[in-house]
């Protein structure tokens, strides 16, 4: 084997040059690869950062829109408007004398309003981001192929 290599270098001495150039370029290429990866990640981070900042402003705007819509709804369902609408469609206020009380089994009256979860009820809304979007490539391969393979083996 060694004889064959010496023979090859004797017949084509440029191979040795190529080898030395290749050896010297190897760290350069490695460096370039590392720099490229660093640049890509850096660019992606910057892009994500900008996106988050945009979303931050967008969130502010959305919160403002929500507040506005909530108030608009309140205007439309205000006491005066509701009475007007009820009268327009022919409803009349029931005199108290004509009110009849009937027992409804299981009905305990109107529940107190709960506009937000009570303290101590963490994670009541569950995870906001689906696990599907958080799994790594390995997680995906494991769940898609390995788990399904194990399942089919178990089934057989």
């Amino acid at each position: 084997m060694a004889k064959k290599s010496k023979q090859a270098y004797k017949q084509a001495p440029w191979r040795r040059q190529i080898q030395s150039v290749g050896m010297s370029l190897l760290p350069v290429i490695a460096l370039v690869v590392v720099i490229s990866i660093y640049l890509i990640i850096s660019a992606q981070s910057a892009s994500a950062g900008l996106e988050i900042m945009d979303m931050h402003y967008e969130e502010e705007e959305i919160l403002r829109i929500i507040a506005n819509q909530r108030t608009e709804l309140a205007w439309k369902t205000s006491y005066t408007k509701m009475v007007e609408r009820a009268e327009e469609i022919g409803f009349e206020s029931a005199p108290s004398e004509s009110v009849h009380f009937i027992a409804i089994p299981g009905y305990e009256g109107q529940n107190p309003v709960l506009l937000a979860p009570p303290p101590g009820s963490e994670n009541t809304l569950g995870p906001l981001v689906n696990n599907y979007y958080q799994e790594s490539l390995w997680d995906w391969i494991y769940s898609t192929f390995l788990t399904s393979a194990q399942t089919s083996e178990a089934a057989q």
Binding site: T71, Y79, F101, V113, A116
Partner: protein
């Protein structure tokens, strides 16, 4: 050939290596030069962060069922970037009439000369609804298409006109519950604050923490993005439907009885929750700056908590409760009413100036005999016990109701320089003593709640950081025993029934007491001007509501039994429906069916 190739390769290698080395050296030089540090520092200061004043969204206010009483809506500020204005005439013409602005007013603003140091931006108007902005946007776009960049100054252009949105406090119910809510001075965008009612009392909570934030411009500094939480939202104990009903009934009564004003408080004596609190006048909170037109001559924003007055016979409930609780009278105690009680240099007369002969305590309350109550306070209770009880009932002290602007009038007691023995007699039937409606309603609620006086309040829950924190009712004091409370309640039920009072509500057992107090005018009590009141609660065997009524100077009739009692009945008839309280016979049937 070989040598030549080698030389060329070597040369290329040397050139490339030298160039690379030079680049690296230059980079190191730049990195370490003093100029670099200066520039870097300058860039950090100027461009790393933007300082933004952030005012969090003011918290919402809801009624007890989650209906919005105070919220925020998106409005716009319109102004001009003076540097870019090419045609002030077009801007003035287009915006003429918006928010009542004239052409000249707008033109004066937009035609200011641009000054990089002092005059870059000028505000034309604020609080524009989105509809106006939509129209302006369309017009601006049209002009921009026809006259790009406003280059032709002869052609119309809205170049330089800009708008930015912000939130404005809004009250969807206008004047409903205005005396409870108070208002936020939203027109003052820098120094706005809550005035009166809930907006004042809970101003800090609602406002959140306005702050000056450093917004990073460097996308790598994500972790330092500031989070400014919104102000806390409040859920009140007020029921919008009951409030509206009570306001309507009160307005009708004031008009019909030609009263100067009126106040109604509806509360749950079991926990002190205020379900409704109506007074006159009221103001449209969306135009709060006009409130001075409505509240002239030092008229308080909310009479229910800020105006003191002599309540009259309603106060007898407290005197009789104190006497029963102290054990100085009982159902067997009698009093021979001659119609006069002369002592301490004064003479006490009954409301009808007549004597009523021998009376039990039941009779004294039923006929509302001043002479009898003066005798009870003076000869049975004595000054010390009487005033101890009155203080335990909270007379002379603020109730600490969670509304801005509560007032009180000090109660004169025997050791005070301004107290005279005759006051014991007059105080026993509610003259010579001043209270606010909320004070007396709270004191009487002890009788309706087995002797426990609950702190009156309007806050049911706070919503902060995405969580709802419910409040807990607080006991203010226990001035009388439960047994006394039930005895007095039964006595007042019978009183109303025996008198066939106009306060009665068919199907329900109601306890209550009327009051007619003369009003002092220039040091003399006037018989023409009265404060007519009624305090009632029910159902008597399990009180779930207490209604307190005060009509000021009614002209139709001066008597509480004629003007205040029917108003109580009118309100209570509807109140029991809102509160799902069936009549007693129906309730018994329902219980029997369930059993």
């Amino acid at each position: 050939m070989k040598k030549g190739n080698f030389s060329r390769l070597t040369l290329i290698g040397i050139v490339l290596t030298s160039s690379s080395a030079l680049i690296v050296l230059q980079m190191l030089h730049i990195q370490n030069s003093t100029k670099h540090q200066e520039l870097s520092q300058w860039a950090d200061e100027e461009y790393s962060y933007a300082i933004e004043n952030y005012t969090p969204e003011r918290g919402n206010i809801y009624d007890r069922w989650g209906r919005l009483l105070a919220g925020n809506e998106d409005v716009y500020e319109a102004g001009v970037m003076l540097e870019y204005v090419t045609n002030p005439d077009t801007i003035a013409q287009t915006m003429e009439g918006v928010n009542g602005l004239s052409y000249d007013q707008i033109y004066d603003v937009v035609s200011q000369s641009y000054d990089e140091e002092n005059s870059i931006y000028a505000v034309i108007t604020d609080f524009l609804p989105s509809g106006v902005i939509d129209v302006l946007s369309d017009v601006k776009q049209t002009y921009e298409t026809e006259n790009p960049y406003g280059k032709n100054t002869e052609e119309p252009s809205l170049r330089g006109l800009i708008w930015s949105s912000h939130l404005k406090r809004t009250y969807p119910e206008n004047s409903l519950a205005s005396n409870i809510l108070g208002f936020y001075s939203f027109r003052d965008r820098q120094e706005g604050m809550g005035y009166y009612g809930v907006e004042e009392y809970y101003d800090d909570l609602l406002a959140g923490n306005p702050m000056e934030t450093f917004m990073p411009r460097n996308p790598y500094m994500l972790e330092s993005l500031p989070e400014v939480p919104a102000g806390a939202s409040l859920v009140l104990t007020i029921d919008r439907e009951i409030q509206a009903m009570v306001e309507k009934k009160l307005d009708e009564a004031i008009k019909e009885d030609e009263a100067v004003s009126g106040t109604v408080i509806v509360l749950d004596p079991r926990n002190g929750e205020i379900l409704a609190m109506a007074t006159q006048p009221r103001v449209n909170l969306n135009q709060y700056w006009k409130y001075e037109d409505e509240f002239k001559d030092k008229v308080p924003f909310n009479r229910a908590i800020s105006e003191t007055y002599e309540p009259g016979s309603v106060f007898k409930v407290l005197t009789m409760s104190a006497a029963y609780d102290a054990g100085v009278v009982d159902d067997e105690t009698t009093f021979n009413d001659s119609g006069r009680y002369e002592k301490y240099g004064g003479t006490i007369l009954n409301w009808d100036r007549k004597g009523h002969g021998e009376q039990t305590m039941q009779g004294c309350m039923q006929k509302s005999l001043n002479v009898c109550l003066a005798w009870v306070a003076d000869e049975k209770l004595g000054a010390e016990k009487f005033y101890d009880y009155m203080q335990a009932f909270g007379i002379g002290h603020r109730t600490s109701v969670d509304l801005g602007g509560e007032e009180t009038w000090p109660l004169s007691v025997p050791d005070d320089a301004d107290w005279y023995p005759i006051q014991l007699l007059t105080n026993s039937f509610g003259q010579g003593v001043a209270i606010t409606p909320i004070q007396l309603a709270t004191a009487i609620s002890a009788v309706a709640n087995d002797g426990k006086m609950m702190k009156p309040h309007v806050l049911k829950a706070i919503i902060q950081d995405g969580k709802q924190y419910n409040t807990t009712p607080q006991v203010l004091s226990v001035p009388i025993k439960a047994e006394t409370a039930r005895t007095v309640t039964d006595m007042l039920v019978k009183s109303l029934e025996n008198e066939s009072s106009l306060a009665l509500v068919p199907g329900y057992s109601i306890a209550g007491k009327t009051g007619t107090a003369e009003i002092p005018v220039e040091g003399e009590y006037s018989t023409d001007l009265t404060n007519a009141s009624f305090a009632g609660w029910g159902p008597a065997d399990d009180p779930q509501f207490l209604v307190y009524i005060w009509l000021e100077k009614p002209q139709n009739s001066p008597w509480g039994s004629v003007v205040a009692a029917p108003l109580f009945s009118d309100i209570t008839k509807e109140l029991v429906v809102y509160l799902d309280i069936p009549p007693e016979d129906t309730q018994q049937n329902l219980v029997a069916k369930e059993g």
